[in-house]
Amino acid sequence: MTRRFHNRKLWVRLFLRAVLPGMAAAFGFGCGRELQPAYDEEGRRLVHVWVHSGQAAERETLRAQVAAFNEANPAVRVRKTVVPEGDYNARVQAAALSGDLPDLLEFDGPFLYNYVWQGHLQPIGALLSESLRQDLLPSIIEQGTFDGELYSVGVFDSGLGLYADRRRLEGVGARVPEGVADAWSVDEFDEILAALSEAAGGRPVLDLKVNYTGEWYCYAFSPVLQSAGADLIDRETYARADGVLNGPEAVAAMTRLQTWFARGYVHPNIDDAAFVQRDAALSWSGHWDYPRYAEALGEDLLLLPLPDFGEGSRTGQGSWNWGLTRRAHHPEAAVAFLEFLLRPEEVLRMTDANGAVPARREAIARSGLFREEGPLGLFVEQLENSAVPRPATPGYPVITAVFESGFQDIRDGADVQAVLDRMARRIDEDIADNQGYPRR
């Protein structure tokens, strides 16, 4: 019996590993083509880079940075490919399997652990200068580290908070919190929502960015769980979501969130303009909206911590960052580009464009936005005090996918306990399927 089983396995492997590539060879062009050549026609070293599409200002800044780097380094050519955010991870997986990953890969922070586990990335700690590593924010180092090795660094960290329209808050006499410590309690938040909604004649007042798809939900709403004393997964072992994601604290918090939808407070925001058109009074959003919001609301823009669901206000951290793939042709050139992006002035150029927290202390010190009393000082305060990293496990891609679909179900009024039970079951099933994600 075992013998037969083994034979069948062999047969499958033969098919997948011999017949298909054989057909590929017979069908020619695929195999001979070098998708990511190491040198361009003029003999310059090529560094292939994948980046996510991002906000318009980010795209423009990065374009200018690549041009500046290429200008300054005539022997190297950085080739940038913009990949849509929607199915970014799916595309990385497919590219990895077909052997056309770029040299330098940008990806959303928590996917790192999965990519390292799959063997796509190489450590970069030793390639970066000591002074640079010392100057990086601890949250950046934490996010980029897996099994004691540094695999990725970001140019910026993220900030997540509640943008508010000062005039609308004053209109209902709401208290304005000073910082993380005196964030609104969720009861207070409920009262403010009710008052704002009444003042707006029943129109939706809260923008939760429900027009987004993908990573947003896990990033933006797992802090709700953590603030209530629950979490996505057991952080000691990363082996179990059951009992953590579907406990009474989680159910209570997500039920509360559900009532905001049920009462019609939440703006559908299908043109992503609810807050800038001053239709919504509150916007639960990240640093990337700051430039746009500041322009639209000017002095009336407030940045507040997320509401406290019981255990203190919590928020998200981590953002897009850069890793070096194992197949990189010129690691030193790729790292040179990365170090260029991490120069304090380049970091500031990017964070001025997207409102993110600079990844370097030196850049923060030079920035007007992020000083303690600066308009985005709260983001720095949060990173030091109340930000929770997303789970550092290779199973994260499944956790976020499960969370997104579960959030949609809760949004649409499904029974919260049932949804959370199902989410926990799916996450645990995935862990079991992957034999607990064994480390090598």
Binding site: F5, R8, K9, V12, R13, F15, L16, L20, M23, F27, D87, N89, A90, Q93, A94, A96, L97, W117, Q118, G119, H120, T213, P268, I270, P397, V398, A401, S405, Q408, D409, R411, D412, A414, R422, D433, N434, Q435, P438, R440
Partner: protein
């Protein structure tokens, strides 16, 4: 080489008039070859591969060894709530859209069959959406279906019902999301069917109507006894095509609802693609593919059988 000659010798001794490779065999196969190779490599091989993969636990990118898991993937897929809902949704879609679209196409075709002014204009208008890619249709309809009283469809229904209509977020409402997708699918597709029906109607000889009229049959009876039997094959063709179309449903769902709300619009294809592509669970996606294949084959078989029976009756 040796084997081949041996075979030829043997065959030739059996049937000396029939060599193993005649010129016309080579010519025939040569002419059909490119198409056959394409169908083999891009349809038959993937299907065989789906069968094999669905018996494993293969995931893209996983460093763990791929194992043979028997029928586990099928058991899991069939036990999965979302997938079962997808089967229901596809069936509901087919049960509503097939009769609706066929009847609408037939109705419009019969109206346009009449010699009247402007029929070419009307035919052109009804056919126009057919040249719209479904992705574009979905994008445009997303605005038409916008929630709240500002949405075009909401406000139109409000006017038509003299204000009795309560504005809805069609695509987020479990009761309205699938109907909304059906509506836009019919809008896009009915022109195609209408044109086929129109041709089918033109194939029914006019003298049959004259004979029926002489026998005193009214237009309803003419429709039942002349039009329908005369257009039977055309109608059958439209029904088959539309039914299979109903099971292919993907683009609109991917762009507009991502299967939500609460799986109200998820489809077999949507589940299969998400599983394979977004979640990298190739083996599970392959199992869904095999199930999808079986459904299509079953539909084709049932329709062929029905058609044959009808032919026997007629």
């Amino acid at each position: 080489m040796g084997k081949q000659t041996e075979g030829r010798e043997r065959r030739e001794s059996e049937n000396p008039a029939k060599p193993v490779l005649r010129v016309r065999d080579v010519q025939g196969l040569g002419m059909a070859g490119p198409a056959l190779a394409g169908l083999l490599v891009f349809v038959a091989v993937p299907f065989v591969m789906a069968l094999i993969l669905s018996g494993t636990n293969l995931r893209m990118g996983s460093p763990l060894e791929t194992r043979f898991v028997g029928i586990d993937q099928y058991l899991r897929v069939l036990g999965d709530e979302a997938f079962r809902r997808a089967l229901v949704n596809n069936s509901v879609f087919a049960l509503v859209v097939v009769p609706l679209q066929t009847a609408l196409a037939l109705g419009l075709a019969l109206l346009l069959h009449r010699k009247m002014k402007g029929r070419v204009l009307f035919r052109t208008l009804f056919f126009m959406p057919v040249v719209f890619p479904m992705a574009l249709v979905a994008v445009v309809w997303q605005v038409l279906l916008a929630p709240g009283p500002d949405g075009l469809l909401n406000s139109l229904l409000g006017v038509l019902s003299f204000g009795a209509w309560v504005p809805r977020d069609f695509l987020r409402d479990p009761h309205f999301a699938l109907p909304a997708i059906m509506l836009m699918s019919v809008w896009q597709g009915v022109g195609f069917q209408m044109v086929i029906m129109l041709a089918g109607r033109q194939g029914v000889p006019e003298h049959l109507y004259e004979a029926a009229a002489v026998e005193g049959a009214g237009s309803w009876r003419q429709f039942l006894h002349v039009t329908l039997p005369g257009m039977r094959n055309t109608i059958f063709f439209v029904v088959v095509v539309t039914t299979i179309l109903a099971f292919r449903l993907f683009d609109q769902v991917d762009i507009l609802t991502q299967g939500g709300p609460q799986n109200a619009t998820t489809t077999v294809m949507y589940e299969a693609v998400r599983t394979t592509f977004a979640e990298a669970r190739v083996a599970r996606g392959a199992a869904m593919t095999v199930i999808f294949f079986l459904i299509v084959v079953a539909l084709a078989w049932a329709q062929r059988k029905l058609m044959r029976e009808e032919r026997e009756i007629a």
